[in-house]
Amino acid sequence: MDTVYYLVQNTLPVAIPLLLVALGGMFSERSGIINIALEGIMLFGAFFGCLFVYFVQGSSLNPQYILLLGMVVSALAGITFSLLLSLATVTMKADQTISGTALNMLVPGMILLYAKMSFNSDGITTNVNFYLRKIPVLGDLPVIGKLFFQNTYITVYIGFLFLIIAAIIFYKTRFGLRLRACGEHPHAADSVGINVYVMRYAGVSMSGFLGGMGGFFYAVGVMNSNINGHTGVAGFGFLALAVMIFGQWKPFQILLAALFFAFLRTLAYSIALIPFLHALNINQTFYKMLPYLATMVVLAFTSQKSRAPKAEGIPYDKSQR
C-alpha cells in the first residue's frame, strides 16, 4: 500500500508540468499555431522562476509565497518569450516549426551564458524547500489524505485549478469559441469580423503563460528548484507535445495522457520497490528510454485517426483565397 501512495505522490508533481504545458500547446494549436517552442518556453519560464527564487531565498518570506510569486514571474517570462514566436509566425508569417526550433535553441545558450557570466555556473542552484510534508487537516483524511495531501507540492493543486479554468475558457466563453474557429477556418472567423491575428497572438501567449509556469513547476517538483542549461527540462516540452496529441487537443483527455506518462516515468524509477519488476533486473537504461518509447507506441496507435486543428501550421493571409 505504501508503494501505491508513493507512486501516486510522486506521479502528480511530474504530471502537472506536463499537463500545464500540454494545455498551453492546446491553446496555441487550436488557434492555428504549431508550438514546437514549448521546450524553450518551459526552460525560459523555469529559468526566470528559479532566478526569482534565487534572489529572494534569503528573505524571510514563507516558501509557499515565494513559490506563488515565482510562478507569476515564470508565467510572465513565458508570455514574453512566446511573443517572439507570435511575432515570427503570426506577424511575419514564418514557418512555425522552424521558428519554434530556433527559439528552443536560443534558451539553453542564453542560460549558460548568463549563469556563467554571473555565477560561473551552468545554471541556477537555489535552496528553498517547497516540499509539503502534510497539508494540515486534509492530510489526516484516511486514504485520500495519504494519496493527495501528503509529501507533495502546492503546484499539484494549482495545476488542477488551471485545468478547470482552461477548460471553462475553452468551451464556455466567447473567447474560446472564437479561438477554436481561428484554428479550424480562419477565413470563416475573419468573415464574421474576428481578428485572426489577435486571436492567434492570444493563443500563443496563453501557451507562453502555461508553458512558463509549467517549466517552473518542473523545476520545483522535479529539479528541486534548480535549473541548468545542459539538462534543461529533459525533453519535457516535447513530451508535452506528445501528450497534447495523445490528448487529442482536448483538456480532459490531455489530463489523462499527462497522468499516463507521469505514472510510467515514476514507475520506471521505482522499479526497485516493485519486487517482480525488480527481479527482472533489466538494464537501467531501458527505463530511461521508457517514456520516449511509450510516447512512440502511443502515437503509433493514436495518430492514424488523430485530428489536428485544420488550419494549424498555415500562416493566415487575408488576401489568400
Binding site: 466563453t173 479550424e184 470563416a188 475573419d190 488576401s319
Partner: protein
C-alpha cells in the same frame, strides 16, 4: 431623392499584378434582386468582398441611403445591415450549426456564452422563412444544401437587409435552386435588397430585376432584365457571341473500354458505403456522364477508379485487363487519363514550372529521362508543343511558375497534358468548374473531339447544362448507387433533377451490366 440603398461608385481594387476592379459602379435599389454577371476573374467576388469589408478599395466610395460610409471590416458591413453568402462557404466544419451562426455576434454575459438565447432566435427564424435546420447538427455531417441554409441564416440572424449571394446555385439541385429562388423572392418582398452572383443566365432571367455585367475587372453596363435576352447578356459578358449548344453528330459506340462491376467503397464519415455496388460500362466513341448532386459518392467512385483510393470490393477492367488492384502508375500506363476535380490540390504542383507540370505523368518515360537523369531539352520541346497546341497563356511560357497562371489556363494545361498522353479512357471530373463560358466552350469541344477520335470518355459533372449538352449517355448517382440511366436527347432537366434528388429511379443500369 434617390431610391438606392447601396451605391458603389468608381471602385478600384488591385491585386499584385492585376486590377480586379477598375472604377466599377454598382447601384442597388431597395427591395430589388440585382444580378452580378461576369466571367471568371471578372471581379465579382472581389467587388462584393469590398462591399462586405474584406478588402479595402484603392479608389472609389460606397454610399448607403445616399450618405458615404467607410467599411473597414465585416463588422462595419454587418452594422450597416450587409450580409454575404460566400462562393466558398465560410463555415467551421467541426462546429455545430448553432455555433457557426452565432460566431462573431455571440450573445454573452461577461464573456460567457448564452447559447440558449441564440438557439431560440434561430429556431424562430427558420420557422419564419421555412429554412429547416437542426441547430445542434455538426456542419461536416450535413448536406451542402443545408450548409447554404446555415449561411443564409447567418445573415438573417444578424438582421441584415442587404444580402449578397456569391454563386449560391453552383452546388444545388434544380429543385433546391427553385427553392432558393423562392426564398430570395420572399426576402425581396420583405424589402430586403439582394445582390446575386451567378454564371447561369437562365437563373438571372428567372429571378433578377436588374443585372450589372463586369468584364475583366471593368464595368460593362447595367440592364433591366425584362427588356433583355440571354444572348445579349452573354455578349455583354464575354464580348462576343457564344454558342450554348455543343454541336456534335450522334455517337457510334464500339467495344467496351472500361467495365466496372459491383464496386463498393466504404465511407469515411458514416458506417454505410459511400459507393455501393456500382456497375457500369464505357465504350469507345461515347461520352458517358456521371451526374448527381455533390456528395453522392462521385468523388469516392472516381478515387477508386483512378486509384487515388483502394476500393473494397468489385472489379475494374480497362481494355480487357483487370486493374482493380493496380497502382495509379499502372492504370495510367494501361491507358487511363484523368482530369482531376481539384486542379490546385491534385492537378498541378503550383510551385513547379509549367513544363515540369506538363510532364508530371510522363517524366519517367525514356523520352524524358536517361539513366534517371531528366532530359531538359526534350521536356522543354515537348512543353512548347503542348502550350502551342492547346493555347495555354502564361507569362514566360514553359518556365512560368504554375501558381501565377489563371485558373482557366491552369485547366487548359492539365487538359492538354492528359489528352496528349496516349490513352483509351479519359476521366474528366468537373473539367469546367468555375470557368467562364469561353473556356467552357473550348473544353467541351476537346471532349467531343476525343470521343470522335474513338476514345472512351467518362465525364463527372454537377452542371446540368453540361450534362445535357455534352454527354451521349447519362448515369445518375444517388447515395452511392446508380439510380438511373437516361438519354440526354429524350429526357428533360426536370426529370434528371428528380433522379438526382432520389425521387425517381429505374433499374435499367442493373440490366445494362450484361
Amino acid at each position: 431623392m434617390n431610391d438606392y440603398i447601396i451605391e458603389m461608385l468608381n471602385i478600384t481594387k488591385e491585386f499584385p499584378g492585376i486590377v480586379a476592379n477598375d472604377t466599377i459602379t454598382l447601384r442597388l435599389k431597395k427591395g430589388e434582386i440585382h444580378a452580378l454577371l461576369g466571367e471568371n476573374g471578372a471581379g465579382k467576388s472581389t467587388l462584393m468582398s469590398v462591399l462586405f469589408g474584406l478588402y479595402q478599395p484603392e479608389k472609389g466610395e460606397i454610399r448607403k441611403n445616399g450618405k458615404t460610409v467607410k467599411i473597414n471590416n465585416p463588422n462595419d458591413a454587418n452594422a450597416l445591415g450587409i450580409g454575404m453568402v460566400h462562393q466558398h462557404f465560410k463555415l467551421v466544419e467541426i462546429f455545430t450549426v448553432l455555433e457557426n451562426i452565432m460566431l462573431g455576434v455571440e450573445p454573452h454575459t461577461l464573456g460567457f456564452l448564452q447559447k440558449k438565447k441564440a438557439k431560440e432566435k434561430i429556431v424562430e427564424l427558420s420557422r419564419q422563412y421555412g429554412l429547416e435546420v437542426n441547430p445542434d447538427a455538426i456542419i461536416e455531417k450535413i448536406s451542402v444544401g443545408m450548409q447554404q441554409r446555415v449561411e443564409i441564416l447567418k445573415m438573417l440572424y444578424r438582421d441584415n437587409e442587404i444580402l449578397i449571394f456569391d454563386e449560391p446555385t453552383a452546388v444545388l439541385t434544380p429543385q433546391e435552386i427553385d427553392e432558393l429562388m423562392e426564398i430570395m423572392r420572399r426576402f425581396a418582398q420583405e424589402g430586403k435588397s439582394i445582390l446575386f452572383i451567378t454564371h447561369k443566365l437562365n437563373e438571372i432571367m428567372a429571378v433578377a430585376d436588374r443585372c450589372t455585367v463586369l468584364r475583366k475587372g471593368q464595368y460593362v453596363g447595367t440592364v433591366e432584365i425584362k427588356d433583355t435576352t440571354k444572348e445579349e447578356l452573354s455578349r455583354m459578358m464575354v464580348g462576343r457571341d457564344v454558342s450554348f449548344r455543343v454541336q456534335k453528330e450522334a455517337s457510334k459506340p464500339e467495344r467496351v473500354v472500361l467495365s466496372v462491376r459491383n464496386v463498393s467503397v466504404p465511407s469515411k464519415t458514416s458506417k454505410k458505403n459511400a459507393v455501393n455496388n456500382v456497375s457500369l460500362d464505357v465504350r469507345a466513341g461515347e461520352i458517358v456522364c456521371l451526374a448527381g448532386i455533390d456528395g453522392n459518392g462521385q468523388t469516392e467512385f472516381v478515387s477508386a477508379l483512378t486509384g487515388l483510393e483502394r476500393h473494397t470490393s468489385g472489379t475494374i477492367t480497362l481494355c480487357d485487363q483487370d486493374i482493380s488492384k493496380a497502382s495509379i502508375r499502372t492504370r495510367s500506363k494501361s491507358g487511363m487519363s484523368h482530369i482531376p476535380e481539384d486542379r490546385h490540390k491534385y492537378g498541378l504542383v503550383l510551385d513547379y514550372t509549367l513544363e515540369d507540370n506538363l510532364v508530371i505523368q510522363r517524366y519517367w518515360q525514356p523520352q524524358f529521362q536517361r539513366f534517371g537523369f531528366i532530359r531538359r531539352k526534350a521536356v522543354r520541346a515537348y512543353a512548347e508543343g503542348i502550350i502551342k497546341q492547346y493555347d495555354v497563356r502564361s507569362g514566360q511560357g514553359p518556365i512560368t511558375i504554375a501558381r501565377s497562371m489563371s485558373g482557366g489556363n491552369q485547366q487548359k494545361a492539365i487538359i492538354g497534358r492528359e489528352i496528349d498522353k496516349d490513352h483509351e479512357l479519359l476521366v474528366a471530373v468537373q473539367p469546367t468548374r468555375g470557368l467562364d463560358v469561353g473556356a467552357i466552350e473550348y473544353i467541351h469541344k476537346q471532349l467531343v473531339a476525343r470521343r470522335n477520335a474513338g476514345k472512351a470518355v467518362l465525364l463527372v459533372s454537377l452542371e446540368l447544362d453540361e450534362v445535357m449538352n455534352v454527354s451521349d449517355r447519362i448515369l445518375v448517382m444517388y447515395e452511392g448507387e446508380i439510380v438511373g440511366e437516361l438519354d440526354p436527347k429524350t429526357t428533360t432537366v426536370q426529370e434528371l433533377g428528380l433522379y438526382m434528388s432520389g425521387a425517381k429511379r429505374n433499374q435499367k443500369e442493373g440490366s445494362h451490366a450484361e
